[in-house]
Symmetry: C2
Subunit: 337 residues, 2 copies
């Protein structure tokens, strides 16, 4: 084991002084073309990497966009990361995606590392809603764009999608088909989006006098919990004829539970999801769901970040995307009607 | 805009000296429980983050596994990253995934940043096959595990899957069905896996005297190129009755081209992919493909990395997974037979 390659190693190989290497790599001072070429070749040959934090202080670009997400296991965040990688790639940038396991301390560490010279700019997806954390973010010298921040107001650019209207439309769609008992499998506790989806379900069923607390089951956005919660609903003395799940993964779990009972979707039980991840249109039958515009949101976040890097005033920008019902094959009128 | 939070800020808020803060956060010296609690609270309130590189030198864990991948736009690498995030999460670790756009200089920078204290260990997917780069990796003090490295030998742990036998089996499957003209859409130039898949196709068709260079089209693993290359093949005076594509994404593009011509898969043209990404089993019809054991490989890479972090001797370990033909719905005997 030896130490990392230093500027002295580069100087030795190129046969010049360390100062000449430094001047060459920093584009300062007068260096002959021949010397410059020799130094750059030596640095390349040795795999020399300047301290990224130091380079950033000099204003050099890293060409890296940092992204911090709660996790990458759920297909939703995996798709958000992939959409951001696509948008970054189109802009000639690379992406560094960090998970935090929803631990605020880890989130702070990742943000500090990324904004300390590793990345040109940061995209934070569902940042922890802690006023002091958000204050640190606002004071960062590294441009930061938020995705799906709904809590404490900040002046950081924020790209988000409304959950309420799409969830209301989904519930109403089931009621309009004739369902009178519509089950709901909630998202994770503490998620503002989960809260909005539940609120919309309550409002839509309440407006028709069809709200029954027994039909609401706690959840956590996962497929496994969707399976369990749907079984609980199907075990009720008066089970629902339709299930609205707060995420597509949860809806897939619910569909598994329905099939596991020897019932069919949508003939026996209608199922609706939320997010419209890629798998939603590819499932059998294809999932009726609420579209969360993941790609549009990632594109906008990258555009705002590029704007900030180019010196544009993007502070205070809030982009609110609508959510939209997409009717596919998992919803039908109830058997009895 | 103000400077990042320093140890002096923490000291001021906690009403103690900077030395006391340092001792508390480093767990050195004698500090009363009361003072310790006050310092930790102040550090938390201010979002103070110790320099990660410095902490790493002290042997502190970051709980972060760094992963470097060429890109995240193709579903293959997106799935590799997600599988690694899942394996890391099961081990209580977070993941930081960096793209390099296949630029060796960017790859070196990302590796330097991650191994310089940001991450506990690194997983490099298809590292650039450059002897000097690999030499730097071998001398790194940070544990490194390679995925899919086939070039210059190193003693770094290496997890990979064979492409040859699966590609040979896929081609033979089509020939056994009665196809005499099997088209091939290659992977990216310079990829050793692409090379192995082409070599297997050449061998399998050659063994039956059915190798025709006109039926081999260059590709780059993308869906778009699969679409174009399949059109070229269908435009031949004597077009193939089956197409073997070097990736599932390419196969999806080929299927699009076949449907676009008003032809059906598999009745008119059989199509086979490679990788078995999640979408392969969900397409209509479901794709016959060669399974690349992405999840097993990510699990093994994480296990080797955890072993190295626990002080186990993992140097020299090479895990070779087989690739395996998965017959689904996109292959059938040719029309004429």
């Amino acid at each position: 084991m030896t130490a990392p390659v230093t500027i002295a190693d580069v100087a030795r190989l190129a046969g010049v002084s360390a100062v000449t290497v430094s001047k060459t790599l920093n584009n300062t001072g007068r260096i002959s073309e021949q010397t410059r070429a020799r130094v750059i070749q030596a640095a390349r040959d040795l795999g020399y990497v300047a301290n990224p934090a130091a380079r950033r202080l000099r204003g050099a670009r890293t060409n890296l966009v940092g992204m911090v997400v709660p996790e990458l296991v759920s297909p939703y965040f995996a798709e958000v990361a992939r959409a951001a990688a696509e948008a970054a790639s189109s802009a000639g940038l690379d992406l560094g995606v960090f998970t935090t396991s929803r631990d605020p301390a880890r989130e702070r560490e990742r943000v500090a590392a990324l904004s300390g010279g590793l990345a040109d700019g940061l995209i934070l997806v569902v940042p922890t809603d802690d006023p002091q954390h958000l204050d640190v973010l606002q004071r960062s010298r590294t441009p930061i764009v938020l995705i799906s921040h709904f809590g404490t107001p900040t002046d950081l650019p924020n790209v988000r999608a409304d959950s309420y209207h799409g969830a209301h439309a989904a519930t109403t769609h089931l009621l309009d088909l004739g369902h009178r008992r519509v089950g709901f499998i909630a998202g994770a506790d503490g998620s503002s989006q989960a809260h909005e989806r539940l609120r919309a379900y309550r409002d839509a069923t309440g407006e028709r006098g069809l709200l029954d607390p027994d039909l609401i089951r706690p959840g956590n956005f996962t497929q496994r919990r969707g399976f369990e919660a749907a079984r609980e609903l199907l075990d009720l003395p008066d089970p629902p004829t339709a299930i609205f799940a707060a995420s597509d993964a949860t809806a897939f779990g619910a569909m598994d539970a329905v099939k596991d009972r020897g019932l069919r979707v949508p003939q026996d039980i209608s199922v609706v999801g939320f997010d419209d991840i890629a798998a939603a249109s590819q499932s059998h039958p294809a999932l009726t769901t609420v579209r969360h515009p993941i790609h549009d949101m990632s594109d906008s976040a990258l555009r705002l970040l590029s704007g900030a890097l180019a010196g544009e005033a993007v502070r205070g920008t809030v982009l609110d995307y609508p959510s939209e019902l997409v009717v596919r094959e998992t919803t039908a009128p109830p058997r009895s009607s």
